[in-house]
């Protein structure tokens, strides 16, 4: 797998060196300098949050919420315990960037969390790691040990009176736990069923205490912002889309992998970096932000730049930055069938529209794919979708509906052909 780096999270990481993840190597490439800067120059909490705001960093977990703003919501002077939580429950199909961060540069995440703890007056943090990447959990635990031994983590960090404890916590196979309140339930040792919001985690989070949750890549971007300044980070990207971002490219390209590039890079350039289309085939469509993002046809995608605003304008979303590339041989009905099965399988079952609706969507797409579709099925899909979206506690319901809507918006003719002729226009995956 390829890793291409022109960005802040992987800056200086040597992917061929098995020791590059370790503390010594991290420190040698400027690691923990941001933490030292804060503790030794007396940078204040307000100054840190101001830098975060200036950076225009938007949450890398999918929703793109401005991180500085989120951090400012935390009641800093709340008297009781507060918590900081990292979301490494990466399970959105197509996304594999956080795995690479934990494995190859875990201290960037750890340093980012320590800084977050300092900025919001939090002394305890957890990192919730997707169960299937268990080796990454072990790597994270090893990195924590190193950070503790070196005095960057734990009690009296670098000889100051600032204390921050951080622990790894693994999942065990549930996509829904990527949703932040399901994650909190799971971290409390329960089944991962999302909570009603409000109250938001900033007031009622882990164990009912104020909690801030960010994605792995979000935290791992923090050391650079503090070291180099928010303005410099912002300028790496474009206005309202600060910095660089990791894109996980999968599917029909020659070099699948993680590409850390400035936000605002044209999609056509990214495709070229990834070695272009596998086998010289033609690009048919791209899912630009993880499986929940509506699909975009090739011509629209080729005009997009890779940033939140451009992809949103094109009718999809940048989401987690997972770019699923499909060539002309892909049958859209079959592709959607597999995605719909995923949401059906992973719905936590709490809300009726999602529990029943995801299965319904899957069964209808399944029968179209298998030559038993009916002419009215496409309208049925849209109507079932409309009865799920916006009617559930969390956004998994919407995530299940968006792929259906995107496919029918851009590839309706292919579905109609399937229903009429009972087979695909093209060979398959």
């Amino acid at each position: 797998m390829t890793v291409y780096v022109k960005g802040v999270v992987f800056e200086g990481v040597d992917f061929d060196d098995p020791n590059s993840w370790k503390l010594d190597a991290y420190v040698a490439r400027g690691g923990y300098a941001a933490l030292k800067k804060i503790l030794q120059t007396g940078m204040t909490q307000d100054e840190i949050i101001a830098e975060m705001k200036a950076s225009s960093l938007r949450g890398r977990g999918g929703a793109g919420f401005p991180t500085g703003l989120k951090w400012s919501f935390m009641p800093r002077n709340f008297p009781g315990q507060k918590y900081l939580v990292c979301n490494t429950d990466e399970g959105e199909p197509g996304t594999f960037k956080d795995l690479d961060i934990i494995v190859n540069n875990p201290h960037a995440l750890i340093e980012g969390m320590i800084i977050g703890g300092f900025a919001m007056g939090i002394t305890v943090g957890y990192n919730y790691i997707h169960g299937e990447v268990f080796e990454a959990y072990e790597r994270f635990e090893a990195a924590l040990e190193e950070a503790r031994a070196a005095g960057f983590l734990g009690d009296n960090i670098l000889g100051t009176d600032f204390c921050f404890q951080l622990h790894g916590h693994h999942g065990y196979g549930a996509y829904i736990c990527g949703e932040e309140t399901a994650l909190l339930e799971s971290l409390e040792g329960k089944k991962g069923q999302p909570r009603f919001k409000p109250p938001f985690p900033a007031s009622f989070g882990l164990y009912g205490k104020p909690t801030t949750i960010n994605n792995t890549e979000t935290f791992a971007s923090v050391p650079y912002i503090i070291r180099e300044g928010g303005q410099k980070f912002l300028e790496l990207g474009k206005p309202n889309n600060g910095g660089t971002k990791l894109f996980s490219i999968s599917g029909h390209v020659n070099r699948p992998g993680n590409y850390e590039i400035p936000l605002g890079t044209p999609f056509s350039e990214l495709l070229e970096m990834a070695g272009g289309m596998r086998g010289g085939k033609k690009l048919k469509a791209v899912i630009p932000g993880g499986s929940s993002a509506p699909v975009l046809p090739a011509d629209i995608m080729m005009d997009c730049t890779m940033d939140y605003d451009s992809i949103a304008k094109a009718g999809s979303m940048l989401g987690s930055g997972a770019v699923i590339v499909m060539d002309e041989t892909v049958c859209m009905v079959k592709a959607l069938e597999r995605l719909s099965y995923f949401y059906f399988e992973e719905s936590c079952g709490q809300c009726t529209p999602c529990r029943e609706g995801t299965g319904w969507l899957y069964r209808v797409v399944h029968r179209i794919e298998h030559g038993q579709g009916r002419p009215e099925d496409l309208d049925l899909l849209l109507s079932v979708g409309a009865n799920i979206a916006g009617r559930t506690i969390c956004a998994l319901g919407d995530a299940a509906v968006m792929p259906v809507q995107g496919m029918l918006k851009h590839f309706r003719a292919e579905f109609e052909h399937h229903i009429e002729h009972k087979h695909c226009i093209v060979p398959g995956y």
């Binding site: 797998m1 315990q81 990466e90 399970g91 959105e92 199909p93 197509g94 996304t95 594999f96 956080d98 795995l99 957890y126 997707h130 169960g131 299937e132 990447v133 268990f134 080796e135 622990h167 916590h169 693994h170 999942g171 065990y172 196979g173 549930a174 996509y175 799971s186 971290l187 409390e188 040792g189 329960k190 089944k191 991962g192 164990y207 996980s248 490219i249 999968s250 599917g251 029909h252 699948p256 992998g257 993680n258 499986s291 997972a322 699923i324 590339v325 499909m326 892909v330 592709a335 597999r338 995605l339 995923f342 399988e345 992973e346 936590c348 995956y429």
Partner: protein
């Protein structure tokens, strides 16, 4: 029901959480128990609940919600292959078919000699390494082409 080593591992997990939040360690305690016994019987789940100090139903809730827990006997090696779309575009579904054919079993089944259990998985967050297969809930095997599968299976007694 668990060895001192497993109990020590559970203790290490418990230490991560506030003293009045021992329940938070349920998932890792069940995982540790499953690693030792390969699958979770009701007795084992109850034992874990007792050790943590929570109601058996609370541990059962966790054991039944999360996909990686096995509540039926599994083979010596559990193979979970990802067939979700990003992987399928790079041979994930084919890897699944090849494994079924080679082992002569379907998803959710175990070979007669008790050597392998085959499972179909959802996205593991490793799509760049497709086709991927998770071995015994622990090791991620990358680029599982038929040749690579043959080689991997030959290593597993």
């Amino acid at each position: 029901m668990l060895t001192p080593e497993s109990l020590a591992q559970i203790d290490r997990e418990l230490a991560k959480y506030p003293a009045d939040q021992r329940r938070s360690a349920t998932m890792s305690a069940l995982r540790i128990a499953q690693v030792e016994h390969r699958w979770l019987t009701n007795e084992l789940i109850e034992f874990v609940a007792g050790y943590i100090g929570i109601a058996p139903v609370a541990a059962y809730e966790v054991a039944t919600f999360y996909n990686m827990f096995d509540r039926k006997p599994v083979g010596r090696h559990k193979l979970t292959v990802c067939t979700n779309l990003p992987c399928a575009l790079s041979g994930g579904a084919d890897a699944g078919k090849y494994l079924q054919q080679k082992l002569g079993i379907g998803y959710g089944e175990t070979t007669a000699d008790g050597r392998f259990t085959l499972m179909e998985g959802e996205c593991m967050g490793a799509c760049g390494y497709a086709p991927v297969m998770l071995l015994n809930n622990h090791s991620m095997c990358s680029h599982m082409t038929p040749d690579a599968i043959d080689k991997k299976l030959a290593e597993l007694e």
